[in-house]
Amino acid sequence: MTVLATALSDFLHAAVEPQVQVDAIGIGAIYALMAVGIGLVFGVLRLVNFAYGQLVMAGAFALAYASDQDWPVWLGIVLCFVVVITLTLAMERVVFRPLRGKPAATMLVATFAVAFLLQAVALLIDQTDDTLGEPAASLAKLNVPWTILGTDVRKITVVAIVTAAVCLAGLVLILSRTTVGLHMRAAAMDFETARLLGVRADRVIGSAVLLSGILAATVAVMLTVQQPLVTSTFALRETIVVLAGVVLGGMNRLFSATLGGFAIGYASGLLGGALPTAQSQYLPSILFGLVIVILLVRPGGLFTRGPGPVERV
């Protein structure tokens, strides 16, 4: 009992360290962006896109390629966006659109198939040389720390927080001030009625998918700075954690899904930063144990009012 109390006390002391807090917020910001990307598509298609992580992985490979070719950083980022957005739109056109209206299980399995296909292709690309993984070193300078008020803060953490804030503010503006944003909100609430009013399904879904692709590319850049070795399983763990966060927050609302993403990213960063190195292997168990407990208490989501009906479009 004393050992447990001591461990808890140590953990709490470490958790309130400014550096741990800043890092946790940085991870929360990246996960929140991933949650928005997943939540946007779920809102209009009622589809959980399990291939979202592979889009991020494709963007990371693009950055690694640019780095290998000694391209300037900005050109690598442009390539990353082009690759991810092209793949996202292709996925919508070739897989999501023909399967729209089919049973939910069919669409779900299709996203699994896309995920494994992209992963297999990435593995083949990775195996063209004898090394495991492709380094994306040109962005590494963003991983060095600044010392602010005695706390080491990595540049990427600041970039991640600012980027997430800008992206989320931009998204709020698009959703609240533009016609396509209004149509997306209406479609997420009741797609059938929105279509009966003349809202174009293809345009709304295409816009949501495009926005989710832009966010995936943004996440790819930020994760690649933190994990410069790009493999075929890049972003897989993060996607699974974010999916849990989206469900944890409440996936019927974009706002609650985003908060869920941030919360699980923050908790993950906090546990990762505060747990002693020797105990870091317990992080996933603790994290997902917490997810199960919270879902048992609030099955509709941590940030929603009641379970609410889930209606498929």
């Binding site: 016609t179 209004l182 149509h183 909100r185 209406a186 609430m189 009741d190 059938e192 009625t193 929105a194 279509r195 009966l196 009013l197 003349g198 809202v199 174009r200 399904a201």
Partner: protein, 237 residues
């Protein structure tokens, strides 16, 4: 506003092997209200669903003037000039009244004249005009029904379809809604009114079609509204 006649010809609707509508034909011309009444399961909603594109007809056609809208997607039908006031109103309760009206604009074929059309609609429904900044979810049932009709009208449609607009409304609010329908008809729109309140429908409509078991059984005129015996016979036959 240009006007065309809605022409439904030999419409057959089936859900798998289950037939819902058996080859019905009717027209709704500009400046007239056509009522569609019948008991539950008569095929009224299936007819509306086939017109609006929510279900594809097994056979037959739906035309608006020269345009063939048979089996087209709901948004295509809406953008062709057919607006629906759905059963249960289906207002977006989390959006404001103004945002609901802006959604109605999605069905417009042209963005010219939006301000004038909006002004005309808000004159017709002052309660909607007074509530534009409010959340639509807090409106009363009657206010929501008026908003649903206003939302359909801002699309500047040629044909207005109404599915049970008096459902759940008090007699006083029903009067307001039916008065508005008469004004809408007088403005030159073609109106197809699907209703459970048979007597009110027969009284206001230029023609009322009685549907039973997916077939058109009878056509009633406003003169029949007082003939209770004929009305009952029409429903039970």
């Amino acid at each position: 506003m240009s006007s065309s006649t809605l022409v439904v010809s030999d419409l057959v609707v089936r859900y798998g092997a289950v037939p819902a509508v058996h080859g019905i034909s009717f027209e709704v011309a500009p400046g007239e209200i056509v009522g569609l009444i019948g008991p539950n399961g008569a095929g009224k909603s299936s007819t509306l669903n086939a017109i609006t594109g929510l279900v594809g007809p097994f056979s037959g056609s739906v035309r608006l003037g020269e345009r063939d809208l048979t089996g087209r997607a709901p948004e295509v039908v809406a953008r062709s000039g057919i607006a629906l006031v759905p059963e249960g109103r289906r207002i977006f309760g989390e959006l404001t009244v103004d945002e609901n009206l802006r959604l109605g604009l999605a069905g417009r074929r042209t963005q010219r004249g939006v301000a004038e059309d909006l002004e005309r609609v808000l004159e017709l429904f002052p309660v909607v005009a007074e509530s534009r900044a409010r959340s639509a979810g807090v409106l009363s049932g009657g206010q929501q029904q008026q908003l649903a009709i206003a939302r359909a009208l801002v699309a500047a449609p040629e044909v207005l379809l109404l599915d049970e607009p008096s459902l759940g409304l008090s007699p006083a609010i029903t009067d307001t809604v039916f008065d508005a329908l008469a004004t809408i008809r007088d403005s030159g729109l073609a109106v197809l009114l699907v209703e459970q309140r048979a007597q009110r429908t027969v009284a206001i409509a230029d023609r009322t079609l009685v549907l039973a078991n997916g077939e058109l059984r009878l056509t009633l005129t406003p003169d029949d509204a007082g003939d209770t015996e004929r009305m009952i016979h029409a429903y039970l036959s």
